[in-house]
Subunit: 337 residues, 2 copies
Amino acid sequence: MNAVNLKQLAQELNLSVSTVSRALRDSWEISTPTKQRVFDLAKRMNFQPNPYASSLRKHRSRTIAVVIPEVANNFFALAIKGIETVAREKGYHVLIYLTNEEVAEEMAVASSLQNGRVDGVIVSLCGSTQDTRHLMELQQRNIPLVFFDRVADNFIAPKVTTNDCESGYVATEHLVQAGCRRIAHLTISMSLSISHRRQEGYVNALRRWELPEDPGMVVHCDGGEEETYRMLKELFMSDRRPDGVFASVEKLAVMTYHVCRELGLRIPEDVKVISFSNLVTASLLNPSLTTIAQPAYDMGKEAATMLFRRLEKKYIVLPDDQVMLPAKLEVRNSTMG
Amino acid sequence: MNAVNLKQLAQELNLSVSTVSRALRDSWEISTPTKQRVFDLAKRMNFQPNPYASSLRKHRSRTIAVVIPEVANNFFALAIKGIETVAREKGYHVLIYLTNEEVAEEMAVASSLQNGRVDGVIVSLCGSTQDTRHLMELQQRNIPLVFFDRVADNFIAPKVTTNDCESGYVATEHLVQAGCRRIAHLTISMSLSISHRRQEGYVNALRRWELPEDPGMVVHCDGGEEETYRMLKELFMSDRRPDGVFASVEKLAVMTYHVCRELGLRIPEDVKVISFSNLVTASLLNPSLTTIAQPAYDMGKEAATMLFRRLEKKYIVLPDDQVMLPAKLEVRNSTMG
DNA sequence: CTGTTAGCGCTTTCAA
DNA sequence: TTGAAAGCGCTAACAG
């Protein structure tokens, strides 16, 4: 019913509160028999220390925050799973905040975390974030920050990313080798560094294969859904219709499918599509979708591990410690390979 | 840098701590000019009250826990989104715990929540949970519980579900009307009430359409992946191969695809598949997958709303308050309809 | 309207 | 090896 506390245990055992406290933390200053008595009673009474009292006293909450743009997206969902796994191992709790791709919400969250509610934060920026002062303030309050995937370039903090540029190259080259000559690149917000790097890879591949770089083939889909839809339709109805599409994120691949179907274009016969994605199901269900799978789960684990290293100060970590985990090309359709 | 606290504000303003505290909570006992002075300084010094001090004092954390089997699953991801949305509106924080479908982890989580870390809990059981004593203990400690989707039948608590039985009926009937005569039903753990209800709907439909009820056509896929795979393969290689499959969860639909492809069976020509699912992408990418879409986001919102009602005691809610939100049949392939 | 005071439950000096 | 006491930062009686 009502929670048991140290005082009750102490009274029951004719000990002082401090002794009980120390015994429970297995302090060397307490005799073995006393410890045993305390352990036993604590277990019997199902004692659970009040985390808030402890946090208040120790200025440490054993809680971290994960701030991501969305969760109904396999990449972030898997990342959370990785983070949660590591956190549980380390005895930490995980607060989750969704920014819904809105800078305003990202700022509100950051501001609400300035008061010591969490010991550290793992962030993936929302597409529209330009200014990261709200996150810098967290660091200034001694709350370590770790970025993953959508990192802030000019921000000194540990970062976990995938080899976006290289993967963009591989993806594009894959389309080239499958016979595509007019390859479009669909990206999300260009304020994200990952978008730049993926596009860089795309351009590099075009150059390597001596294909023309048509600026009209790079579509920045940072507007709303309808806007994007409109742009894609326009692209596919133009006389320079692409025969290959490299989508920077899964949603854009799906929309491409939509548009193509509507226009009577067959995939992969008329248009080949490749996309960054973690939606295993999608590629299973439709063999024509080749994907660049990011190691989302491992990225989450890595981000959490880096954060906990800093929290537990076991190692001295350079402030700009960076980890890059490779994405994997997953070809499911032999006609493309 | 270092957090500002009430005391500092009070000193700066030549007021007592309690006055400042009251002013900040906009108490009617404080004069307007004083309030203004306090507000101004608080804003200027970027004061953020320490949540743990407040929680300790008020025995209220403005934090809830969400305990779910997994997150890399569109249903749960969307539900989280719904929960988080409502929580933010109400000024609550959301802790997330994944049980990975393991009762042991579910129990560990429940036990770790007994100490007042959270004001309430939203749960979806893991497949293997039979005994729910660990959750009852939470209730006994006055921590309100709300179930969603995978609810515990004989547990008095608010529950948010979909119309599983009806949807199971509709799904099966849909296959019948598409010409299927040997309809298999694939379920997950039969200790979940949703499984029972979906199966009930399936059976009802078979009876209504006077199709034989072959127990061999109901496959309980509660083992590991390989085991399930084996069972499905067996099912499709037998002489009574199904021409329709009603999968209780998406993963089983995906595995069916796998197996069929391996055996050279075409979908939907040889085997029609329908499944409970929230993976919009999947159905978009493959028009032959008809889905029963659960209103995951709304279920999350509803669960959170019910929880907050109880936390804020605005209404008197019956302890067994139940909400059922309808799932929607999403047909994407006209050849099936 | 404002101040004083007594805790919330725990950790941690400092003393014994 | 144990206990007494102070205090983390905030809230809420109770007094004025």
